[in-house]
Symmetry: D3
Subunit: 244 residues, 6 copies
């Protein structure tokens, strides 16, 4: 039995629930999903400032589960604080967009990415993962999360148009980024010319893979665990992890 | 029950057997390993010409299993003809070094690669996968496959020295590339400062992941299946796949 | 009269004081330096996790000064949460290593970077700034902050050796990164073959330059100010900035 | 008298003949053109799988001529198995698209590429040659080889429109890639704003240049000749070259 | 009192005057602007050949002021002979487009660039500065310098449209390149969604910054001063600088 | 009969003579070599400033031969003003290091470069040609041109050591850059593990190739000929070419 923490990075419990449900649908039989929501931070992350704040909130949340889960999946399309979490935690940590991009690397030569609204921070995210040369393009659909709920067919048509445009640019698969696009992969797949990649599904499976491989944590370098680090005003669990 | 074809690209059956054994050790309970050896080609691949020849041999081998396996793992550290196989086959195809490099992307910021002999074609391979910016360095150990069998401790010490050197250059994990290094990950892991990544273990798990995700094949673009293609003098199965 | 916030990102007031002193020494006559320390966070930042936590602490600190200063200089060599701060604040924000690197771009073709300990996160930082092609190399000096205080000559000799090594690799100037290296630029400059760049000096001048240029904030895109964003458990000033 | 092997990579003799004719038209007086067609493989290469199969076929074909020609020109726009051929053969080997791209490097800052159908594999080919930064763009003309024969004016107009589009993107010359575009350079040049580069013409001249320079083959590294390599089921000439 | 040489690179005195005026408007109180025009060369630089010729003219002009000014600003949007001038002169040298691009690096993640006519050499200029990854795009406005004088509103509308297009591509600021666009930043800023960057304003402030930092010149490497170099037919001042 | 201008960029006639001799030795039977020396400029180019000055001198020299030669070879290892010359002249123009690098692209995957003294400007030159990914490394031999004449064996041994070092880094060929290394390719080739590439030999052959291909000059873009450009104080031939 493997325990996988699905950690939301915003403070909206309903999104945590939706992510947990998606994770359970994607998980292998032996995987138990534990979902959690940060104690503080933005209701939804849609700016650079909110993302930075959520990084601390997410680390605090992860720290509470350190030693009690086998892996963590960051349920936030910005892969918020992913490298920090990976360094801090004693178990594997996966980002949902990271996971989808890596799957995209095995689904053809280049992948595209569709999201609602601006694409700039996602372009930076793919570059941060070193995968810029495998990105065929990004498309920002003019739609909002409420519209996606109210008019899934209309929004789905926009998403499909964006996917078709990216396929024409050479995308062999397309990452759907953002909680509001959850579930659209299954809904639209049959009408899409290329595979649609859902971060939660890819992330759950990547976390299971890492647990199965049972790789040791680096003992040195910039991903070694913290040790002897002092801090002020942090949660007890987080402070304890820094102390090592 | 998932059927995974472990396809060697050289014609040495003993290497196929060793790969199959490694694959079985790494596989999840429900995965059946089918191992196969090409009908023709180089005994071992250690040059560009041999690799190109083996590409055809490997595709012929895969074609015989098309429709009868759920995924293919190319059991050759050069990821021989990977993109071609991915395009041609109706099921997911994974390269063992590709898989190890992608796992390396989740094990820290940068990975290293150790092999026996020259590193140039591996540098090109990592670049072909678009992962050059995540490669901390490569190291060619002065040893031969027979030496690895005859003196595993001596060769292991050389490998560990190479791994330590790469870790000092910033590698957070190290891919062990080449059939002769099979098993060295488990033998040396406890003495290594960073995770050692074995292509067979990573590849089997990645293949399982792709089967679990059940992504459709692109209907267009350069990874769409062949259709209506004529050929001369190819094996019946291969010719049939080209005809579509 | 221009008001420049020098914002430390760790919670060690002595470092804030040292930075403020360095800033005052570097500032133009009309620049008033206001120094501040975060309310919570790591005592010193030397890991990815501490850096992510400090990002929130720094943003909280900056938010308290929004509208009351003309510019902000992040007094932390990791340029912690720089892009987030730049998006959030109504005034220019500069990172000290960013500033030193940009000055390095005008001091020749390529610059080097010297720090104490590991260099990996600085390599990533330079790449995050898009300046990887202008980086001649990085060198991690085997010394600690206490040693720098106790034996400035001995440590200085190590730094000079590192600088000479980078100059031999083609560095036309060298960034000294990390609070513990503050002041070493003036102490060692006469014995260095190339210019030594101090982040506080460069950062103060860059902040003055940006204030003089009086550029408007983007009204759209990923650097536009936040508006109407909800949050939970954040400081009043930070929450207010997110609400816009 | 120099003997140049023009090696087709598909099994369509008519294409071999057309290439030989183009080669003879482009060759210097002292160059004898020997044209050859593989014994097996795809009738035409238009997919990744066909290209990989053709790599073996081409190497087999080249091996028969090893020691009996002064240079080889691969008469296939995908530069199929170019690096392998270069390593294996005792004489210079040139790819026709490679040659055209290198000429494009001397015809201005950036070149474009026009082909029939999909452009993705050509984008990868230019990147494989390390010339991505000199590629202004690619354009896939909606036309088929039969149409090019049946309606050369109509197809020519489409090609010219594509060329004009690439020139507007900054292309100072344009590579025409694909056997079906053979001869279009001469037909359209007068109406094109930039030079049109034909792979056969460029390739023949590059082969002559390499023969004139009389460079030795590397004695080490990944382009050294094979020696002592065993194989199974290969043509006698190919097996002999591997044995060295 | 700091003396800043504003060196035009073409021979049109009216442009020198306009640049001097812009420089005086941008300068800090203590900065004296000395403007100068080359003795020979193109009337306006709008081709690669003119730019190369102007490089010599500019160096001759700078040499006359060596030792008599505290810094030089190259008042030419091509940053003509910037690296050469930087190496040759005993004081800091700044390029106006270089300066604007570096300010753009602090105004967001990526900047755009607008000019009249062709954009190709500006794309190369940004790449020469190593900033290609921070360039969101370039736009060539269909207008001429006389039109900019005769119809500033009409041309301004075209510039604004180009700026909006670049902002939509992700530009957080836009460099206005070319003497004919001088002053358009102030005229159009209020109607632009992002900051407009003027090379003279940015360049004057960067020159002041470098003088304030008082960095030493490299004693070795490719930016060290010339010494003992013979020449023929150069101006006395230029020949003297080469002799050292 | 083809007329090839071999244009030195420095004012030392003895170097012009040596280059002419090397060119004649490399040329095809029908190629007439016309050698020329600039009227003014540095005696030898070994700094950025000298290179920029020589750019004008070289263009003036080329302009005198415009219309009277079939191609130009810039006999200077810095490829001084190459792009400007290419744009200005009505015939093909080749740089000697450019030519050697392009030949290096066909001699294996990566090439190295050896020169006397500093390598920084050569690294930039290879990057300016867009070939950085094909550069295995650079080596600066500690020797001077007079030493190369006085002690060719001793200097040759140093060059061979540098070549061996670059081959170990993966260079499949090595460019010898700088007039002082002329002839060392023939002298050392037999003792080198990889091909040694001489710029004059490669350049003469590339010029012949371009003449044979008879490509038209671009009618638009940044390589179109000048037309209607005014100038001051330039040589009559140069001014005439700018006027068009």
């Amino acid at each position: 039995m493997m325990r996988l923490l699905v950690a939301n990075a915003n403070t909206t419990a309903a999104i945590t629930e939706a992510c947990a449900e998606a994770a359970r649908a994607a998980a292998a039989p032996g995987t138990e999903i534990i979902a959690a929501t940060p104690r503080f931070g933005p209701a939804v992350i849609s700016s650079r400032a909110e993302n930075a704040i959520a990084g601390h909130a997410l680390l605090e949340l992860l720290a509470e589960h350190a030693g009690r889960v086998d892996a963590c999946l960051l349920a936030v399309s910005h892969d918020t604080a992913l490298e920090a979490a990976r360094q801090m935690m004693p178990c594997p940590v996966v980002g949902m967009t990271e996971a989808a991009c890596l799957v995209g690397c095995m689904a053809g030569s280049r992948f595209g990415l569709v999201t609602f609204g601006g694409v700039d921070t996602y372009r930076e995210l793919v570059a941060r993962h070193g995968l810029a040369s495998r990105l065929a393009g990004l498309a920002g659909v003019a739609a909002t999360p409420p519209e996606a709920v109210a008019d899934p067919e209309g929004v789905g048509a926009k998403v499909l148009a964006a996917v078709a445009g990216l396929a024409a640019q050479g995308a062999d698969s397309v990452v759907l980024a953002g909680a509001a696009l959850a579930g659209f992969d299954r809904r639209l797949q049959a009408r899409s010319p290329v595979a649609l990649l859902d971060g939660m599904a890819c992330g759950v499976r990547m976390a299971e893979l890492l647990v199965a491989l049972d790789l040791p944590k680096p003992r040195g370098g910039s991903y070694a665990a913290c040790s002897g680090r002092d801090s002020l005003g942090l949660s007890p669990a987080l402070a304890a992890l820094l102390r090592g």
